[in-house]
């Protein structure tokens, strides 16, 4: 037979080269890392939709101002975007807005961390115990459909007009989403990976730590993001409804603007609330992108 004449060592040597050659051929044209060049172009690609969005909003504002809707421009109630932005700039020079932002963000962080802790613990327990999962699954979905603002009378009766009432409603709003995210992640751990993990000898806590939790991360992150949206809404509703004396917050500034018929001031606070929301949302989106990029779950168009 022809192939028996080739000495074994030569065969092994040529086989190594063949494998290395095949590897490099297969990886050619495969972008293995991120493009480091064209930073200016990438920045532009990322920035122009935001610039356009801001322009559209300001344009609509200007139109609303010029249309003199209800005759409010003539009375001086509605001001143009120029005057409005000047008002915001002016408020940003004073400590009052900043201490309000500080208080609101602190409450947001405390409430969100609480929701994260409670939601994650509940999610972890429920996903482990099937009968509990069957029983609580519909409760968790039910809680998610309940508008959080409906909880405020209950919270105020229970906790009084205090920060606790706001935190309570934030947790009720956000924790179910976070728990759900984790449960979904655990449910959708690929069975093949579980088989691979078990043959490797991963059991119990180790199986959880090295396989199930990392596998659930994308779904858990989605839950965290949705939870944040609920928490932030609940917080804004809470600050408008539960007025705590002596505790300056964005909600109180918004309330003051309403009481003073200060439309421009109200818009300034709304812009601040919007910006905080967008910043946090961006952080979640970036994290989500990073996780998906690491796992190769991105298509080329998404990786921008």
């Amino acid at each position: 037979m022809a192939d028996t004449k080739t000495p074994a060592s030569t065969r092994a040597g040529s086989q190594d080269t063949a494998i290395a050659g095949l590897d490099s051929l297969e990886l050619a044209g495969f972008s293995t890392g991120r493009d480091r060049g064209r930073i200016a172009r990438k920045t532009w690609t990322a920035a122009w939709p935001k610039v356009l969005a801001a322009g559209l909003v300001l344009g609509a504002w200007q139109l609303f101002y010029l249309s003199d809707f209800h005759g409010d421009t003539s009375t001086g109630l509605v001001k143009g975007p120029g005057a409005g932005l000047a008002n915001l700039w002016d408020q940003l020079q004073h400590g009052q807005l900043w201490s309000a932002i500080g208080n609101t963000v602190r409450t947001a962080v405390v409430g969100y961390l609480l929701a994260m802790l409670i939601g994650s613990v509940i999610g972890a327990i429920v996903s482990r115990i099937p009968p509990l999962r069957a029983a609580t699954g519909s409760i968790i979905s039910g809680l998610q459909t309940m508008p959080s603002i409906a909880w405020f009378p209950f919270a105020i009766i229970l906790f009084g007009t205090s920060e606790s009432a706001i935190l309570f409603v934030m947790v009720l709003g956000a924790a179910p989403s976070i728990a759900n995210g984790l449960i979904t992640g655990v449910d959708y751990t690929p069975p093949l990976l579980l088989r691979a993990g078990r043959t490797m000898g991963l059991r119990g806590v180790a199986l959880y730590r090295h396989l199930i939790l990392p596998a659930s991360l994308p779904a858990y992150l989605a839950g965290l993001k949705q939870g944040w949206a609920f928490a932030w809404r609940s917080l804004m509703a809470g600050e408008l409804l539960v007025i705590i004396v002596g505790n300056l917050s964005l909600g109180i500034l918004l309330n003051n603007a309403q009481d003073n018929q200060d439309l421009t001031g109200a818009i300034s606070i709304m812009i601040v609330i919007l910006v905080i929301g967008i910043v946090v949302d961006t952080i979640f989106s970036k994290t989500d992108l990073a996780v998906r990029r690491r796992r190769g779950l991105l298509t080329d168009t998404q990786s921008v």
């Binding site: 192939d3 095949l22 990886l27 093949l192 691979a196 043959t199 490797m200 690491r294 190769g296």
Partner: protein
């Protein structure tokens, strides 16, 4: 060279026959299955996946299992791996560690190639300082030393399967179970991986149970090819392949054996038609 075909209604003689080959201790059995049955469901809907199947794999022997769909090949591997329990019968691996490879690489996508291998070592409680070194060695053994820090999605299909092989080897397995591991690869990559696998298995004197429905692949790789019937799975024929020298997928001897097995397999399928 010729291919020896033996019809063995009593698989108990397998160890005896294996003993005749050079380089293998006579009668040393790595895996022994006796009268294994597996039934899914019960009553009239019960499915007999495997029926009173007996099979042995000698120490260092490469056994290929071939069969048409529904012969319970995958069930069989799950049982040997301890992922599934047989309805009846005995499995004995003599306390050997069993590693398994699937058709999909089943790598953890959030870990680099090296970390994937390290995790298997960690599950074995290998001390931290040694893990990295051993993982690197294993990846070099499958010619992936330069790609240790790549994540699975950055590698080609063949490379992923090699990482999966390195991971299976990291489990210090004496017995390697392979469930159509090259089924999803192109022919050229598969050829190269056959050579790789042959080299690694003989270096480490692994006992292998290799499931495939590619008859040529079985003839190329196996020391013995076991043909299973379908629904329920039973051993219907065993073919011994003497080790006379390097084999290739296009060797004449491989082709001869492959066509013999294919004929027998067709006969078996007609029985169901």
């Amino acid at each position: 060279m010729s291919v020896v075909q033996r019809y063995r209604p009593d698989p108990g003689t397998a160890a005896q026959l294996n003993g005749g080959r050079p380089g293998r201790p006579a009668g040393d059995t790595a895996v022994s299955l006796s009268e294994i049955s597996k039934v899914y469901g019960r009553g009239p809907n019960a499915v007999h996946a495997v029926d009173r199947l007996s099979l042995t794999v000698g120490q260092g022997e490469f056994v290929c299992i071939v069969g048409a769909s529904g012969c319970g090949k995958s069930t069989l591997l799950s049982i040997v791996a301890g992922l599934d329990t047989p309805t009846a019968g005995q499995v004995d691996t003599g306390g050997r560690r069993v590693g398994i490879m699937f058709q999909e690489p089943a790598l953890f996508p959030w870990l680099t190639a090296r970390r994937n291998v390290e995790l298997a070592l960690r599950a074995l409680k290998v001390p931290k300082e040694q893990r990295r070194r051993r993982a690197t060695e294993l990846l070099e053994a499958v010619h992936l030393g330069d790609f240790a820090d790549k994540r699975p999605h950055e590698l080609s299909g063949g490379m992923r399967q090699r990482v999966a092989l390195a991971r299976a080897l990291a489990q210090e397995a004496d017995v390697l179970l392979m469930d159509e591991p090259f089924g999803a690869l192109d022919a050229m990559t598969r050829d190269l991986l056959h050579d790789e696998l042959e080299r690694i298995c003989s270096q480490r004197s692994l006992s292998v149970l290799f499931v495939t429905h590619n008859v040529r692949e079985a003839a190329r790789l196996g020391d013995r090819v076991v043909l299973l019937s379908s629904r329920p799975g039973r051993v219907i024929e065993q073919y011994d392949v003497p080790r006379t020298g390097p084999r290739r997928i296009d060797s004449a001897s491989v082709a001869t054996l492959a066509s013999q097995i294919t004929d027998r397999l067709r006969e078996e399928m007609r029985r169901h038609g």
